[in-house]
């Protein structure tokens, strides 16, 4: 039988030190990164230059230290990305000597495979370039920064989520996820989407960024920007297609809560110029992150579920 005498000698009487909830979330995410590195042939990390993917990259760097991250990055470039974010992306990739794959929506439009939507948003157009890149590069595990607190359909996601050869999600046929025993088995052509930040909330992400002193693109902090009003949101004026006739540009003090495509990601009025000020602002906000800034989630009650079923991240 097992005995514990030799290992408990010298333990403080109050047991193990208390781990903060950020310590626990960090440890869990690292465990997930290492499981994937141990079980898969060709993983890739979706990296948009947004705060969630920046936190994922930070966790991956810690998980394999002092060795390099054993996988590459993939960015789906809508062609409407914020220049500050692309600059950040390229700087981070160079600093850590990473390999970056880019799936370009603009290429698909130029080739006539995808057609611009009447509303100008390119978010739903990302699915095809993403899934074709996954197939052509034979990625078998794709890390995404999705969190279950974001949206009702995401609340149903597994940590390891099997996608079929068409990258489709079927919420009714998900594998039960028991204890911390993640099942990564998949057939050739299938892949697994992996969500190391599943149990994090928006506030956790910001608290972790503050604790670890992680650099972010400047658009997350309050700055003056030329914006115009559309569908209740402040959109950045630019060559992507705004403003239209009847929409007026004005200069406002704003910041971004999420970073996505310029055509559908709204800025919020804010004077938060520091991490502490951002955290205070989010803790007091009565709007969810996506409710405040994402037009595409409002298209229908099941917008996210429908896009995820098709292969969106």
């Amino acid at each position: 039988m097992t005995t514990v005498a030799s290992t408990t000698a010298g333990l403080p009487t109050d047991g193990a030190p208390h781990l903060s909830h950020l310590d626990v979330l960090e440890s869990e995410a690292v465990h997930i990164f290492r499981e994937v590195a141990g079980e898969f042939e060709n993983p890739v990390l979706l990296f948009s230059g947004g705060k969630d993917s920046i936190v994922m990259l930070h966790l991956a760097l810690k998980a394999f230290a002092p060795a390099a991250i054993p996988f590459s990055l993939l960015h789906v470039d809508t062609g409407h990305n914020f220049p500050e974010v692309l600059e950040y992306r390229d700087r981070v990739v160079a600093r850590h000597g990473l390999r970056l794959h880019v799936a370009s929506v603009q290429d698909y439009i130029d080739r006539g495979v995808l057609r611009e939507r009447p509303d100008g948003t390119r978010n739903p157009l990302q699915t095809l370039p993403l899934t074709e890149k996954i197939q052509s590069e034979r990625f078998d595990a794709v890390f995404g920064g999705g969190r279950r607190d974001e949206e009702k359909a995401r609340a149903k996601e597994r940590v390891f989520s099997l996608r079929d050869e068409f990258s489709q999600w079927d919420p009714r046929r998900q594998r039960p996820e028991l204890w911390q025993l993640y099942n990564g088995r998949h057939a050739p052509g299938e892949h697994v989407r992996v969500f190391p930040l599943s149990n994090w909330t928006e506030l956790d992400v910001w608290q972790y960024i503050a604790r670890e002193d992680i650099e972010l693109p400047g658009i997350y902090f309050a700055h003056e920007r030329e914006v115009f009003r559309r569908a209740g949101m402040w959109l950045t004026a630019g060559e992507w297609g705004g403003p239209k006739a009847g929409e007026t540009v004005e200069t406002r003090l704003v910041r971004y809560r999420t970073v996505g495509d310029m055509s559908c990601t709204g800025a919020v009025d804010s004077d938060a110029t520091t991490l502490d000020a951002v955290i205070t602002e989010i803790a007091a906000s009565r709007l969810t992150e996506r409710g405040a800034t994402r037009a595409d989630d409002k298209m229908s009650e099941a917008a996210m579920e429908d896009r995820k079923r098709e292969g969106y991240f």
Binding site: A16, R148, L162, P176, R185
Partner: protein, 447 residues
């Protein structure tokens, strides 16, 4: 400045802060109960009354409720996230919800009530420290209540709450509550559930969920939320024998780290210290810990549930799937496994079937040698030699593995005593396994 005794100095952690700035911990809990017992309403009420629902989410619920002609917002709409769930008005799959109060952060596994989704309750309970089982005050303890209580007992969920719901429909009568609470507690205690708390509530009206009820002066206990905020968390597995499943070998092979060879994993039990004599299983090689890295920072000791990288004094062969344990407290190796299982796949598990078994970080071939019994959840009787287990069945299984495994009993460790069976053909997760016989209490009740 003094550092709280519980803080790990080496990580530079400043502790987590809630919206009000206090240090918080996390309680993972699951809900269970029969269909129409008001589970989604309870969850919606908990989220709503703890002010965890934000304006845009509530507006969406109000909009849909109004378009269906309801006079009040249907709080169940906050949680039923899939098209099919909204269409049918039922919960199909486990959903995870997050909310926080000034005192604690919560991860809620919201599990469906239908009999055919028993496996989802098992999924939710596998990581929960507490289960809330709902009972309709008009119906009392029913078959599904017994089934869910038995599962909580089998999975050794440390705390069980019975929430007697719809008290508004029985005139808030103390005698109704007392009878149900008494019957439930006797049943759960018989199954070996260590702690039962009974709370009379109305999820619809909001009685005793977050705010104390004005209709039940006779009840002096906590509300559901107060209980969730104060129940002790963490079983302190640090005092158990140490266990580190090796996930990955870190070998930088760089000029800066030419000889670094670290064994990465998450500590599931016990304490590891630099200098400890350890054994690597299944090979049985013995060496000492020469260093521990906590995500890049060297430390003297590490605890559950930290993800660490361990360096060993001797160049022994260690790879993914191995288990590092203290030499003085090593589990026995075995190729013959007796376990209590819950079958979670649609295709049955049969005697003679070849499967894969994942335990910790190790996946090995196995064969189902025997299925000695199946538990009838209605009355907890055991049906001998059923030949096979179908979806949602709970039974005993004997397995023979192709390689020896270092197994602990599930009663001693929910982490190193659990495993899953996988279909080697298509990768389906077939079965959730708990090493050891049926829980003692369940056997005693098994007649």
């Amino acid at each position: 400045m003094s550092v709280p005794s519980g803080t790990t100095g080496s990580t530079g952690s400043t502790g987590a802060t809630s919206r009000t700035g206090a240090t918080v911990d996390t309680l993972a809990f699951a809900t269970a109960g029969s269909v129409d017992d008001g589970k989604s309403t309870l969850v919606g009420r908990l989220l709503h009354d703890s002010k965890s629902v934000l304006t845009d989410q509530l507006e969406a619920v109000e909009r849909v409720s109004a378009s269906r002609g309801a006079d009040a917002p249907d709080l169940a709409l906050l949680t039923d996230g899939l098209r099919a769930e909204r269409e049918q008005g039922i919960t199909i799959d486990v959903a995870y919800r997050y909310f926080a109060t000034a005192r604690r952060r919560f991860i809620l596994a919201d599990t469906p009530g239908h009999v055919q989704y028993t496996r989802n309750m098992v999924t939710g309970a596998s990581t929960a420290e507490l289960t809330v089982i709902l009972v309709d005050a008009r119906n009392g303890v029913v078959e599904q209540t017994r089934r869910h209580t038995a599962i909580a007992a089998l999975l050794r969920v440390p705390h069980v709450v019975v929430a007697v719901n719809k008290m508004d429909l029985v005139g808030y009568e103390e005698s109704v509550f007392a009878e149900i609470a008494g019957e439930f507690t006797a049943y759960a205690t018989g199954l070996g559930v260590p702690e039962v708390t009974a709370i009379p509530i109305s999820a619809l009206a909001g009685d005793n969920v977050v705010e104390p009820s004005a209709h039940m002066d006779w009840y002096g206990g906590p509300t559901v939320l107060e209980h969730l905020e104060t129940v002790p968390v963490g079983q302190d597995p640090a005092t158990r024998a140490a266990r580190l499943p090796v996930q990955y070998v870190i070998r930088p092979r760089t000029a800066e780290h030419p000889d670094y060879r670290g064994y990465a994993g998450r500590i599931v039990a016990g304490t590891f210290r630099v200098g400890d004599e350890v054994t690597v299983l299944p090979s049985g090689r013995t060496t000492r810990i020469s260093g521990i890295d906590l995500l890049g920072e060297p430390v003297d000791a590490a605890w559950p549930t930290q993800s660490v990288t361990v360096l060993l004094q001797d160049d022994v062969d260690v790879s993914r799937g191995d288990l590092i344990v203290p030499s003085a407290a090593a589990p026995a190796l075995t190729q013959d496994v007796t376990a209590t299982v819950c079958h979670v796949a649609d295709a049955p598990l049969t005697v003679g079937q070849r499967v894969l078994l994942k335990h910790g970080t190790r996946t090995v071939k196995a064969i189902v040698k025997d299925i000695p019994s199946r538990l009838t959840l209605d009355d907890l009787s055991q049906h001998p030699h059923p030949g096979r287990l179908v979806a949602n069945d709970i039974g005993q299984v004997r397995l023979r593995t192709a390689e020896p495994l270092p197994l602990d009993a599930y009663a001693d460790s929910r982490r190193t005593g659990s495993f899953i069976l996988i279909d080697p053909g298509d990768g389906t997760t077939l079965t959730a396994g708990m090493v050891g016989d049926f829980a003692a209490g369940a056997t005693a009740c098994g007649r």
